[in-house]
Amino acid sequence: MGADENTIIRVENVSKTFSGKDGQVEALKNINLDIHQGDIFGIIGMSGAGKSTLVRCLNFLERPTEGHVFIDGKDLSGLNEKELRAERTQIAMIFQHFNLLMQRNVIDNVCFPMEILGISKAKARKRALELLEEVDLADKAKSYPAQLSGGQKQRVAIARALASDPKILLCDEATSALDPTTTKSILALLKEINEKHGITIVIITHAMSVVQEICNRVAIIDGGTLAETGTVLEVFSRPKSRAAMKLVYPDGGDTSVAEMKGRHCIRIVFSSNSSFEPVIGNMVLYCNAPVNILLADTRDIGGIAQGQMILQLPEDEQVAARMIAYLRERNLGVEELDGYVG
């Protein structure tokens, strides 16, 4: 295949069709993805976009109708049941609703994957305690899940996921049932795990803030297709697809663009390495015409400040063209919005 050696998960032309009572539903259409060793990879999309189906294709909880999934170069569709189960012990998963065994206490929950692997009870318990230590819940070893808060349950689920020493951790909306503070602490824990154990993490979410917080690469799923993929920085600063724009500028972008329909507007994106030169001011002086600033906003993406601004340019096409050229010369991302129907 000639993929680069870093690729740990490769999704090749994956489609998934569900046949139900009302005919067939195409949940995924021809998805291609490469996820690298050590990535924290975000898969984001609106609900119903197919992201949960996609993540289940990565461990074959859902078998793709077409296409292949390679884990470490191994084609999952070529494996028999037993081999597939063995492979799954290497691909751990955590869930929105934690999915702990309610009739087992915390430490026995963490021991469960090790029971499946046939690890001796004494050894499993020792390892489980270490893992609980790691997720800061050693004092709850004897508690039952019903006695824990949502954040604590997810920590138990994370400890359980690590018990089989996986190389990949899939997170299916793992923070969607949690409050913002707990979400932050769970994300910090995931990042720590990624750094400490070198586990590749795939995060499914509908929340842009989650991707912004910890992912380095992101794929945007829209209507079962892959709308866009790239580094988080790229996708956030210059969203190309409609789906991406909708996610990146959920309230700002779309509505104001709609209002500005028919007028000559542009979106400029600054990154922190843009010079401190007063670009807009100089442009106005240089072109000798005023502009109207409709929206200006700065956000922190992966520790780098990203600014965007929406300008309304003069009616005169020539002046407007000069302004755009002026900005492009200064290496700013410029995107014309007037043909855009919001």
């Binding site: 189960r85 998963m93 609703h97 999915n99 309610m102 009739q103 087992r104 499946i116 039952y144």
Partner: protein, 224 residues
Amino acid sequence: MLAEFWQEYGQMLAEGTGTTLYMTLASTLMAYVLGIPMGIILVVTAPGGLKPNAPVYKVMDFIVNIVRSIPFLILLIMIMPFTRLIVGQSYGSTATVVPLVVSAAPFIARMVESSLLEVDHGVIEAAQSMGADNWTIIWKVMLTEARTSLIVGATIALGTILGYSAMAGTVGGGGLGDIAIRYGYYRYETNVMLITVVLLVLLVQIMQAIGMKISKKLDKRITG
């Protein structure tokens, strides 16, 4: 007067209670030996189950429905040749156990099925994602997670089977039902019949209380 009553009927009532308990417990136990695997098969082979298998599911579903719709008294008479084959006779308490088991097993299968279906699908999915095989999922996830519901079901089954065993008394099955029919119906000794009814009610109450207590104690979803 009470002393006289006890002298006359005490031993018979005690023996009847013992026989009823023997029939109820023995047939519940054996019905579970059959009913649990049947319930598991129903859940596992159902569409969307762990290992969907339409023919097996449909046959099992059909058998369970058919047997469940035959009234117990009719079933008891219908399978008398089968009972004779197994026990050697078609009357008496041990012989009654056979139709009780045949009648209760499908009923128990349904209750086991519904208990297992209550188990959160997400937990089963989590076990699959860990690489658990279907046996592990059935034993360590489904049956364990459903145990409270299974015990409540067993309590209900015991009560129902106790009722059936009393009914079997009318055709010479022995036990409290037999006493009630012989004294209350044939000999118009209403007080004996009333006492047997009281004893039956007490038995059900005690079983119910014990079952609920055990299920509560084992349920770890209840905090505190």
